[in-house]
Symmetry: C2
Subunit: 104 residues, 2 copies
């Protein structure tokens, strides 16, 4: 059984969030997840189809462990959502301010 590590809201740190977003692929993943109303599988949230599955999996792990996304297992798929409420409670306005510049 796969166990996902999700930090508690209060354990989400600014340095951790910035480090997790300090990568163009991870920025695009988070931006993609936010535009989608439902949760998304890792494959669907990938910014481009050429990324090896192991690389993609690592990106999702980094985002999850920094508190940016929440992952659940549904059948064989991992479903992801951005922890918007937690992030906005911890660092109001931060995620929006960063993602605004993510398409450059």
């Amino acid at each position: 059984m796969v166990q996902f590590v999700h930090p508690a809201r209060d354990d989400i740190t600014l340095a951790g969030v910035l480090a997790a977003l300090a990568d163009p692929v991870r920025l695009q993943i988070v931006r993609g997840l936010l535009t989608e109303p439902a949760c998304m599988s890792c494959t669907a949230a990938a910014p481009c189809p050429d990324i090896p599955k192991s690389t993609l999996s690592n990106h999702f792990r980094v985002l999850r462990e920094a508190g940016l996304i929440h992952t659940t297992k549904k059948g064989v798929e991992h479903r992801n959502t951005v922890r918007e409420a937690d992030l906005n409670a911890r660092f109001p306005g931060l995620l929006k301010a960063i993602l605004k510049h993510a398409d450059e």
Copy 2:
């Protein structure tokens, strides 16, 4: 003669800025520099006096190479300023949004 590497404004990247700020000490350095109207020496901008000089020097290099600060040599001192105009031109509102949360 020491040569400082400063990226051109257009070469400053979002991922680079986030990576440089993804460290509590570097966040405090930038915050300290911004509260000071004049430029500051590396020692004066250090968030606490216990940090070894080589560690501090590395933090300043990371900030400089990401385009966050500008360093000049004055006598034996390195004088630093935050590249506020460049950063606000590239990513309006970003620096302020991040530093707002830097004291947590």
